[in-house]
Symmetry: C2
Subunit: 272 residues, 2 copies
């Protein structure tokens, strides 16, 4: 069984040092409790609603930033996935997520699908999402709006991910009374059709007038939520990630085996 | 605006003539009320839980069956999408859906993804789902388990469908208290990420011990249900199907324009 915790934090835009410490405290808390996989929100170090690209640049850090060293020390045996504003060597900015443990940075993923005004600040990623083979299972990483592209989530599932860990920053939108956020429903369905687990870690609070959805949810391979954030903002669950490797639906059906990729390519040649 | 009605019927397996009449009565009722698009369940003429392939063969009809003539006469200006067991000229059986109006059969779709013991009876379809350009909008047709393959639903959306009309036969499965059926959630998310409408017409009742989900739902382009079956088993809604053609999410975001197909093909070359 893999213990997963998401920390639905409320970083404050512009307060880099304070946010780094907020994240560090969350990592330390979960790691010391023996949690295996710790997920923090998108852009947890910088905040999200930038007043300008210049402000974003000031809040971005490189992969050699000492922040990651302190996070890695705190992580120990745990795997941490956390969003941050990345400044690359060439000065470009990326909306990135780091995966790290006590050995240091394991991977950095740069968000492929940028949402709205992120496009004015960040460069879209051009590399595949990492799928880390860890002792906790195979962990794929996506960020927020990436989840809305079934091409990508399916590809990550087919590439073998047992769990998608997804830092998010979902702006609150109107929805019918009694409904879950559409973004959470999307994660539930993505988990079910791909028979894998998803841990999406969202933001809470309000930032420069932008309210957040606070939609943090851990979802099992059948697509049902097993945990949302408690009063302390923590969603925690134990999941058997190995269940993700058996795509059997019935003795005659298999979620992946029943795909017909050659047919898709033939009947919709421009799309496959 | 397009008026859509789904008839959540309870055909009885083996009673071909009675089921044909049940369907005819539903078509007549909606068509005479001026409904534009009428959707009936999967395998509405034959029933679903066959005792043998031989029984299925006895309940299958060819495209020249007089049933379709009577349905077309009743349809008039309406477009009808209904599931039936199809016997092809070569004797093979297909789990098919017909689309017809007063001019006769417009298209027949053969289900591509067969569920469970359907595989013991039917041959899987090998042609693209039709996307009919009608005065009511562009109507794509899928059947039941097809909806669980995001490759296919995305392809139908990219090919221009405004509405997916889907005859279904969802076996009732356990779900957490208070949750919608997972199959309905899947349709909601499929509608939202592709910004199109979906009308899924399910079965009700029990057949040879198999209970049905009765999940009939008409879903708008934002992914929210606008109608489920009433006490008479009819789900009816008016939708502006032209809304499906504008995939704009924000001034800077577009559900289709933000896709990165070249990148998907490069980073997951075996899957795209």
């Amino acid at each position: 069984m893999t213990r997963i915790e998401c920390h639905q934090l409320a970083p404050r835009v512009g307060e880099l040092a304070a946010n780094q410490h907020l994240a560090l405290a969350a990592i330390r808390s979960s790691a010391s409790a023996g949690v295996d996989v710790i997920v923090l929100p998108e852009l947890v170090t910088s905040g999200y609603v930038f007043s300008s690209a210049a402000e974003a640049a000031q809040l971005a850090v490189g992969r050699d930033d000492p922040m990651f060293t302190s996070w890695a020390e705190a992580a120990g045996d745990s795997l941490v996935i956390a969003g941050f504003a990345e400044r690359a060597g060439d000065g470009l900015l990326y909306n990135s997520a780091v995966a790290l443990d006590g050995t240091g940075i394991r991977a950095v993923y740069r968000k492929i699908h940028l949402w709205d005004s992120e496009k004015l600040v960040f460069t879209p990623g051009g590399d595949a999402p990492p799928i880390l083979d860890t002792r906790h299972g195979r962990i794929g990483i996506l960020i927020c709006y990436d989840l809305e592209f079934p091409e990508l989530t399916r590809a990550v599932a087919l590439a073998g991910a047992d769990l998608i860990a997804a830092p998010t920053n979902w702006p609150l939108t109107e929805r019918p009374a009694g409904e879950r956020a559409a973004e959470v429903l999307n994660c539930m369905v993505t988990a079910r059709v791909n028979h894998l687990a998803i841990a999406c870690c969202d933001r809470t609070g309000t930032e420069r007038g932008q309210r957040w959805t606070a939609g943090t949810t851990i979802i099992d391979q059948d697509g049902w939520p097993v945990a949302t954030a408690d009063d302390a903002g923590v969603a925690g669950a134990e999941l058997d990630l190995l269940r993700s490797r058996d795509k059997t639906l019935t003795p005659l059906c298999d979620a992946f085996g029943d795909r017909r990729p050659e047919l898709y390519a033939r009947i919709f040649p421009l799309q496959h």
